[in-house]
Subunit: 330 residues, 4 copies
């Protein structure tokens, strides 16, 4: 039994909702605890339920001032309610506005992180808030707090910043969360399988649909996501044509669910046709939370052991980790 991890969160969206509800979901009851769906029930000696949220920041006026237990279901959040979050809740506080970063705002965050004795700051901002993400990271560094960045904006990939975290013996883990189980993973596995068997892949597509805010944003501004997905898939040899559509559209009734349609057409022996069609349905934010829960534990453990910078154990949990030569620790 270790001391609970004291975590602060910036951005109270679906991912944080899934994370906090999941931590409660896995809290052992009178009977045997079920740990279905958790990759590591215990990581560095820390169990899932040994994470505690001590502070929360957001910029949505309808969330600020609300108990976090209510704010996770507010505004455009649509991850379902799985459990009742009981006990005392922190209150959501004014966070750093991406288009209006002021020293006083950053200082407030530093102060709050200190007051709550936070160990890890989880950055769960929407993509394309690079300035705000960096400002939060600076605040964490000032307050002596480790950072996990989930968005695709470059934070851990800022070499100067990463070195300063390393010098301060504070972990800085990022960027761009990998999914626990997503469409790129399945797509990649299937393409690999066909290629290994000598099949020619004439063409393949992947189109993703969902009902949360990510899908609304991606439809119009999906370029970074597309690049990231193409990186995963484009190294399979012998794929004649590859189309990846991160957001084919916003489908409100899916709520926080995500549906991916994957199709592969190839040719085998004597040119005979092979066709594979897949429909994948997942809870989008659960996929994120299952990975965040590992990153937060890796970051807290590193800080406690006074190992800073990027930690190698996090590398497979992120789509865009910093290059290895930038001083990974193990």
């Amino acid at each position: 039994m270790v001391d609970h991890i004291r975590m602060a969160v910036a951005g109270v969206g679906n991912n944080v909702s899934a994370l906090l509800q999941g931590i409660e979901y896995y809290r052992p009851g009178p009977g045997d605890p079920s740990l279905v769906g958790v990759t590591h029930p215990e990581l560095n000696g820390i169990r899932v339920e040994e994470i505690q949220c001590v502070a929360a920041f957001d910029v949505d006026p309808t969330k600020i001032g609300q108990p976090l237990t209510e704010a996770i279901h507010g505004s455009t959040n649509n991850f379902p309610q799985i459990v009742d979050l009981v006990g005392e809740s922190v209150t959501v506080e004014q966070g750093i506005l991406s288009d209006q970063i002021r020293p006083s705002g950053v200082e407030q965050v530093v102060q709050r992180l200190r007051d709550t004795e936070a160990e890890v700051l989880l950055l769960s901002l929407p993509t394309s808030r690079p300035a705000a993400a960096l400002a939060y990271a600076e605040a964490a560094l000032s307050a002596g707090v480790a950072v996990v960045n989930c968005s695709a904006d470059p934070v851990a990939r800022e070499p100067g910043l990463l070195r300063r975290f390393a010098s301060a013996s504070l972990p800085l883990l990022g960027d761009d969360l990998a999914s626990q189980f997503g469409s790129s993973l399945i797509h990649r596995a299937l393409l690999d399988l066909l290629a290994r068997r000598g099949l020619q892949i004439d063409g393949t597509y992947q189109v993703n649909l969902g009902g949360n805010e990510d899908f609304r944003n991606l439809r119009d501004a999906g370029a970074p996501k597309l690049t990231s997905k193409l990186n995963v898939l484009s190294t399979v040899p012998g794929v004649a044509s590859l189309s990846v559509i991160p957001s084919g559209g916003h489908v409100p009734f899916l709520m926080d669910r995500k549906v991916a349609h994957i199709s592969i057409e190839g040719r085998g022996w004597a040119g005979s046709r092979v066709a594979v069609d897949v429909r994948l349905e997942v809870q989008d934010s659960s996929n994120a939370a299952g990975v965040i829960v590992d990153l937060v534990r890796i970051a807290a453990d590193g800080r406690r052991r006074r190992v800073g910078g990027f930690l190698g154990a996090a590398s497979t949990l992120l789509k865009s980790p910093p290059p290895a030569e930038d001083g990974w620790e193990r």
Copy 2:
């Protein structure tokens, strides 16, 4: 450039049709040869088109006496015509009847194998003809010919027989052909992927449909096939319920195509639902031919190098190879 492999075939079904048409299909033309769909364009120095059929046996009266180039499209065979098989064709001869094995019949096969200077006998009989399969193997041994057994009947798994082939420096490769790319392969890859990510698999099914004779037979007598498929899948941890249906039914219009529907239901983080649904469509006999073409080359090469018994290079191409302790050669 090596001497062409002199191959005899027993059982003129869809698999032999796919094999012979494929060999023709891959014959280099004036331009660059396309080798799409071939796992090994060259194996032990032997190219795909360097296999030549010198004798063919069958027990179907409508095929006996016919040119092999016509018999491959006869009776219940329904692999499509992909190429015109040109040139002189061997004539299909009376083979060994499974329920009426007579020394004279076996002797005829021995004689024919000697006359045609065959190097490899390909056993492509329907499943559940164990006596005929063994009789063909004995004939090959007498004639100094290597054997490849595609069916699930035990031939290479007969330890005494395997030793006698080894002593005679003749390869004996079997049993039960693996597919180049089939439903068990995909199903296994997906289950592995989910299990590795910590997902709980509540249930999964696989149902296969096809229009060739295999599917008609399997619907009623699919037990060995079921066992073989379950072997592939049952070792994935955390699968609560697994249903495999080798033949959900005979669907005539599919002809030699095979369709598999695979469905997986699981739970991830905080019990959230994950569902994967796959439809796979392949040309059934092409999947076999793509593997046979490797086995025949491995067998011929072994015989030429005077290495007998089971050859390790064949092990991943077969679902039920003999145990390794039974004297594999490499």
Copy 3:
């Protein structure tokens, strides 16, 4: 507001479980009642929740003597628990054994129907119990009770029996329940659509999978079901090949859910390919209950109005109604 219908049931399987739980589910609460999923909230002036079960018969020793509210979840029944059935429950009584029909057993049923003042007897037996089904119908006739037969065994199609019900002014509705929404319905609609547009259908299949007892039985004894499904589909013009597989296999984890895979391949303008692939998932017994609830109300209303024999309003709710010339009433 009418008097509640007094219904007796023979066969306490998933369908009766779905029916009784649904009746409770639709009972209006303090707020507005939701009648989602009901074709006719009110039929002949009778609302869904105005059906009351007054007697229940079964031959399973583990159900006999149990409260009906528990027996619906017993033995191999696997329709999920949707609501708590509260209030006083009838006790399941010994029913008529299909292979051992004795006058005393029938007389017990007659007596029980009279004692409970039942108006309708719902026959919800497994298929292939023709003698038991007829014995129950005789008992109902003796007791002055209308009958609804859900199974494919001929009861309403026995012309002599139907006439005797008509003479007694008692409705006799059967046989073989249509689904509220099933695979044949969708398959038929799609084939019709293609045919109307001038497309040629080269081939089509439908394979059904499920985890309840029906699917276990059908795998081996699906002939009547197959005939009934072919009847629905075989009249579409221009279908070159039609394969219907009522049970492709028993898939336990599906429980009472049913999955149908439907595939259609056709050709349109200038021979161009058209392919339609459907996956349908329904709760099998819910599909039945949604139709039973109408049949029971039609039967009770007929009996109250003293209109006997087969009633025309039931014809679209049954796959094999008696021929119209056998004296339908309206």
Copy 4:
């Protein structure tokens, strides 16, 4: 046997390619003609192959001056080659530029229509060329030629223009071609089926993918197409949420094929879940050509019988016909 219809075409894209190749495909050979995929082998006494192309206009410099038989495979056209178009071919001529409409250009078209004695002008322009479409229609009116407009731009819906065609006894048929068999048709049929059975539809989506120019354009400018598709679907009662995505993305390897993924989630008896998932694959331009072939025959027949304006027989073949009060003829 009638005189062949003399047709001129404006816009030499995939649809015209599919139309012309199909007319050749259906030309009776020595044996019995196969008319697979044609809704009306004969319409108003005119057979499919009795349509002849006498003039062709386009604005693509790589097509102008080419034989029509080659231009249909040129530039971004990717409908496959199905038949060899033999015989003498017309040459593609300079058409009317949408952004630069000059009297001399229009006059050239008038002259050409007169010289070739065209009876019908088929407008097969990309969507969003309203000025060019109207200019072509004016040219046809001057030359005494009937018009069929396939695009969504308003031509037949211009009341003044329609009246002038009516006065001149010339048919004017449009706008916006219905598909012979498309995703909206199937989607509508399935939603209707569920609604008729009393099922509640919680949500449904349709996402379309394709590899032709339409899909590239639609991804960015799909608004009119979306409106037209929503019109078809939005009148089904009880659909809680409907998402239609005319182009989820441009998938080059699909070429002229179109894939639609349709998903429907609903609830039936006692709230039990119903899910229908469809994958539809069609040849996009074949779907158009199968309808165009009817419209051209209706237009030519009307002109020959001297019946002008909009003809009622065309109404189901178009998504946006003019309102009935605008003087339809029959």
